[in-house]
Amino acid sequence: METKELLYICAAAGLLNLETIQAGQFLISRPSFAGFILGLICGYPLQCFFAGLLIEAIYLDYTPIGGAVPPNGAAACAVFAGLADKSYECFSICFFIALFSGFIYAAADRKIREMKNAWNEFYQMEIKEGKFKPAVWIATSLLADFTVLSASCAIFIIILRPLHSFLYSYPFLRSWMETAFLAVPFIAFSSFYFRLAGQVRKNA
């Protein structure tokens, strides 16, 4: 992957991530859509769409209620798009690396939110001094999240590429990943089945 392509993927993921939490929440950044968009940049939208669908099936188990931070779909899809290629040969390996990257980024996201706790003192201070401008803070927040996610994605892709190559180079490890991958749709959809059946039962 060229550096230019990597930069485009990370920047696009950064923008998509803003849509997830900070601005809009139009569901354009849900993993399947984000995967498709990032796949268009790399030239394999369909593969990224399929990966996005499976990532979304797993991540939908985590609901962003209250202070809960679900795994990050934009980061996961960016890592998938950054590691995968046009062939479907390493699909399962890229999928698992991407899936766990989303969980790792959620931890970073929690740290950013903790960091923003300190901003509250500055708001109070600025209000008392008559200098409070919420738009400036909103822009700072958007910029911080965009930068952190884009940089994290670039780091993830660069660091995880050797792991991907290592897993791919050994047929036994590849077979292990492919077998584990086989169960993913079944786990996700059976989980959905019991969850939705429970919802229907409760609301009957």
Binding site: F26, L27, F36, I138, I187, Y193, L196
Partner: protein
């Protein structure tokens, strides 16, 4: 309300600056700023800012109901403590409704509709795969957006009209009916997808080995993974537990395959 459009567009940023201490306080004050600036000047404006920079958290699409209500109460110059009390009680009520409708149901509806549409468009060969994927993604997302944007806009208007009331807008729609209908629709779509998926896996062996013995082994592994998912769910563990156990199971399976090969 003269600032309706300003509040409406700014309400899309309600979650910007989200923090664990006061949640959506920055987004809320940003959306309400045009109204506060029109009504209050000098020290009064500072007090209004300090009032609304306090803790606030609700479901983002439902925030309009609280924003409209707060704007109306500020206009009526209702006592600050009363404003905070009504704001907090409404935020909790709308968070509960919004989480159940949007996060727990409609978000899943969009996902399931995407899969169903993609299957239909590709199996019936109506569109080539890439166009089918784009169509399957865009249509449910657009419908979801239309509804969520409507709720945001209508919420601001409704909240403003009944401002000062602690149950303002809670009867705006039949929320229970929406919850019931979306639960049933989701379940029906899911059953169709599962049937199609199982048919494809068993008859065409999509993703599975074409060798009969290996297929039996693989299918056994998948069934075990589903049982593991049920076991961990019963213990209230997240899906990651199942994924890790699946990794361990797949390692055993891969070793056995190597041994017998």
């Amino acid at each position: 309300m003269p600032e309706f459009w300003k509040i409406f567009f700014r309400s899309f940023f309600i979650q910007a600056g989200w923090n664990y201490m006061k949640f959506q306080n920055l987004g809320f004050i940003f959306a309400l700023e045009p109204v506060l600036k029109r009504i209050h000047k000098g020290e009064e404006l500072k007090q209004a800012y300090l009032r609304h920079i306090e803790i606030f958290n609700t479901q983002p699409y439902m925030a309009g109901f609280v924003l409209g209500n707060a704007a109306g109460m500020e206009e009526k110059k209702i006592d600050g403590q009363q404003i905070l009390k009504i704001k907090q009680s409404l935020a909790c009520a709308y968070a509960s409704i919004g989480d159940r409708i949007f996060w727990a149901r409609l978000r899943i509806s969009v996902f399931l509709a995407t899969i169903l549409l993609y299957f239909l468009l590709t199996v019936l060969q109506i569109l080539p795969p890439v166009k089918a994927a784009l169509f399957a993604l865009a249509v449910p997302t657009a419908l979801y957006c239309a509804f969520s944007i409507y709720i945001r806009a209508a919420g601001i208007k409704k909240g403003y009209l009944c401002s000062g009331s602690g149950y303002c807008g809670l009867d705006f729609l039949d929320w229970n009916k929406i919850i019931k209908v979306s639960s049933r629709a989701n379940f029906a779509i899911l059953v169709v997808i599962i049937f199609y998926g199982l048919f494809s896996a068993i008859v065409y062996r999509t993703g599975f080995s074409k060798d009969n013995d290996l297929f039996a082994f693989e299918f056994l592994f998948v069934i075990t993974a589903v049982l593991a998912q049920r076991h961990f769910r019963a213990q209230k563990k997240p899906l990651t537990w199942t994924l890790f156990s699946c990794f361990a199971g797949a390692l055993v399976f891969a070793l056995l395959k190597r041994f017998f090969a």
